[in-house]
Amino acid sequence: MKLHKMLPWVFLLGLVPVLALANDDESEWNSRLKDQYFAGKTITESNDLIEIDAPYRAEDPALVPIKIVAKVPQSKDRYIKKILVLVDKNPFPFVGEFEFTPESGKADLAMRVRVNTYSHVRAIAEMNDGELYMSKKFVKASGGCSAPIGADLDAAMQRLGKMKFRLDEGVKAGEPALAQLLISHPNITGMQMDQVTRFVKKSHFVKEIRVSFNNKPILTAKTDIAISADPNFRFYFVPDQAGELKAEVTDTSCESPTSRDACSQGNSYSETYVVNP
C-alpha cells in the first residue's frame, strides 16, 4: 500500500499525534534534503558563523518570525555569499535562497515563515570560498501551510503589490544600516483551498526579490510558499553615500502547491526609498 493511500487510515486511527512527536529528527535532511541541495559537499554544523533563532513554540504557525544572525562582517575578501533556508517537514521544504554581497555589510536576515508541523528550521550559509556552515532550530507548530490565508482576504487582495521600506533613524555613511522591506502579498500556498468547491485557487506567491542600493545588489532572493502572507524581510546594507534603495519583486502562480513544473509568468512590482546618511 502506498503512503498516500494509507494516510486517511492514519488519521482515522488517531496516530497523528504519535507521528508528530516522532518528528524531532533529522530524517528529511539526511535522507533527502542534504543530497538535493549539497550532494557530495561537507557542511560544518555550528553557530559560530551564522546562528538561526526562532520561537520554540509558534503562536501562529502561518507567521513564525525567524532570524539569522551573521557572526562575521561582509568584507571584500571573506563574505557570506548565500544562505539557504529550509523547513524540513514542510510539504515544500524550500523557504528561500538569499544572496548577499560585500555591500550588504552584514548578512543578517529576518523573515516570517510558515511551519506545517513540528520541524527543524535550518539555515545553511555558503561562504565566497565555498565553505558551508549550518545552524538549525526546532520549532513546534502545526498547520502553517494549510492555515487560513490572512484574516481579511479581500483587504489583502486589494493591496497586493504594495511595498514599503522602513529604516531606522540615524543612518550613517559607510556603516551597515538595518532596512525592513514589507511586501503586501497574500502568498497563497494553494493548500488552503477546498479542491471540490468553486473556490479552487492555485498557489500564488512571491518568487523573486531583488534589493539594490544605487543599482548595486544588496540582497537577491528566490522565495516560495513557506514565506508568510505579506512577506517581511529585514537585512543590512551599507549606504556609502546618499542614494536610492530599490526593491523589485516578481510573483508567480503554480498549478500545484508542491510542484514548480507548471507556473505562470507572474507580475512584477517595485518600490524605491531615498537614503540620506
Binding site: F11, L12, G14, V16, P17, E59, D60, L63, P65, K67, A110, R112, G143, S146, A147, P148, I149, G150, A151, D152, L153, D154, A155, R159, K162, R166, D168, E169, Q180, L182, S184, M191, Q192, M193, D194, Q195, V196, T197, R198, F199, A229, D230, N232, R234
Partner: protein, 308 residues
C-alpha cells in the same frame, strides 16, 4: 399479545435510552420570550469538551424555529435539536451560522433536512471552503471528533447587507457585518423582544479573539454602541441586559491593542517585540488570555503595519 406489547415496550425504552446516551437534551435558558440560549464554557476547544464551548440556541416563532449556531460537534448539534423538540412542536425552518468558527458550525449536520434553509454571511461559504480541509484535519487531532467535508454545510441563503426572515408572527433582522471578529460575522436582531444576538462580535470573560480585522471590529462596536438593546447575547460569556456597558471591557482591550501596537510600529519596533510587550496589563481581566493574546497581537500587528 401481552408478550409482544412487553417486547415492544422493552425495545422502545432501549432505543430511547440509547438515543439519550448518544445525544442528551442540551440545557437551555429562555432569556427573552421565545429565545433560548445554551451558555458555553470559557475553555479552549479540546478532546474533553470536543469543541462544545460556544453559546448556541434558537428562537421560536408562531410557524417555525430558527437555530442560531449549532455547536462544536455533530453530537452537540443533536443535543440542541433534542432541546428544541423538548421546548416546542414547531419545526426548524432556518439554521443561522453567525460565522465560520468550528465551535459555531460543527453541529450543522444535525439539522440538515428538506425543510431547513441554512443562512450565513455572503463570505461564509468561501471561508468554509478555504478553511474546511484544515478544520477537518484538525478536528480528529484537537477535538477528538471525526468529521467529513459533508459535515461543513455552506449557506443556502447568503446575506450581503441585511435580510429579514419570517418565523410566523416574528421577523428576525439579520445583518452581515464588515470584517471584524472574522470576515463573515452575522448578527440577529429580534425586534419583538429587543434582543440582539451578537455572537462572537461580543466576548465576555473569554478573551476576544481577532481573526478578521481589529480596526473593523472597533468600527462595528462604535456603531453598535449608539443603540440601546434590552438583551444582548454574546458568543462567549453570559447573556447581558446592560448594553452598551457590557461591551466596554472588549472595546477597551481592542483599543489598547490598537494604541500600543501603533505606537510600537511608529517607534520602528518589530512584531517579535510587540508580542512580548503589548497588552499584558489586561492579563488578569480575561480568561484564556495566555492562549489567545499573543496570537491577537500578531494578527493586529500584521494588519496595522499596512495602515499608512
Amino acid at each position: 399479545m401481552k408478550s409482544v406489547m412487553r417486547f415492544l415496550l422493552v425495545i422502545s425504552v432501549f432505543l430511547s435510552s440509547r438515543s439519550l446516551l448518544a445525544a442528551p437534551v442540551l440545557s437551555v435558558t429562555e432569556v427573552a420570550p421565545g429565545i433560548f440560549v445554551h451558555q458555553g464554557v470559557p475553555e479552549l476547544p479540546d478532546t474533553h469538551n470536543h469543541g462544545a464551548i460556544a453559546n448556541i440556541g434558537f428562537i421560536v416563532g408562531e410557524r417555525c424555529v430558527a437555530v442560531i449556531d449549532t455547536g462544536g460537534n455533530p453530537d452537540q448539534g443533536r443535543s440542541l435539536k433534542n432541546a428544541i423538540e423538548h421546548t416546542t412542536s414547531k419545526p426548524v425552518c432556518y439554521v443561522i451560522n453567525t460565522h465560520v468558527h468550528p465551535d459555531h458550525i460543527y453541529g450543522n449536520i444535525a439539522f440538515k433536512s428538506d425543510g431547513v434553509k441554512f443562512v450565513g454571511h455572503e463570505k461564509l461559504a468561501r471561508a468554509m471552503a478555504v478553511r474546511g480541509t484544515y478544520y477537518i484535519d484538525k478536528a480528529a487531532d484537537q477535538l477528538g471528533v471525526s468529521l467529513s467535508p459533508g459535515d461543513i454545510i455552506p449557506p443556502d441563503i447568503a446575506v450581503k447587507d441585511t435580510l429579514d426572515i419570517d418565523l410566523g408572527g416574528r421577523i428576525l433582522k439579520l445583518t452581515a457585518h464588515a470584517a471584524a471578529h472574522t470576515d463573515n460575522d452575522l448578527s440577529v436582531y429580534d425586534p419583538q423582544t429587543d434582543t440582539l444576538w451578537l455572537a462572537d462580535l461580543l466576548f465576555l470573560e473569554h478573551l476576544p479573539v481577532i481573526d478578521g480585522s481589529l480596526k473593523g471590529w472597533l468600527a462595528e462596536l462604535k456603531a453598535l454602541e449608539n443603540h440601546a438593546y434590552k438583551v444582548v447575547i454574546p458568543g462567549h460569556g453570559p447573556v447581558v441586559t446592560d448594553w452598551p456597558k457590557s461591551m466596554q471591557p472588549e472595546k477597551a482591550y481592542l483599543e489598547m491593542l490598537q494604541t500600543e501596537i501603533r505606537a510600537m510600529i511608529k517607534q520602528g519596533k518589530y512584531l517579535e517585540e510587540a508580542v512580548e510587550t503589548v497588552g499584558y496589563s489586561a492579563k488578569n481581566q480575561w480568561k484564556l488570555f495566555d492562549q489567545f493574546h499573543r496570537k491577537n497581537v500578531t494578527t493586529a500587528f500584521a494588519e496595522l503595519e499596512w495602515e499608512d
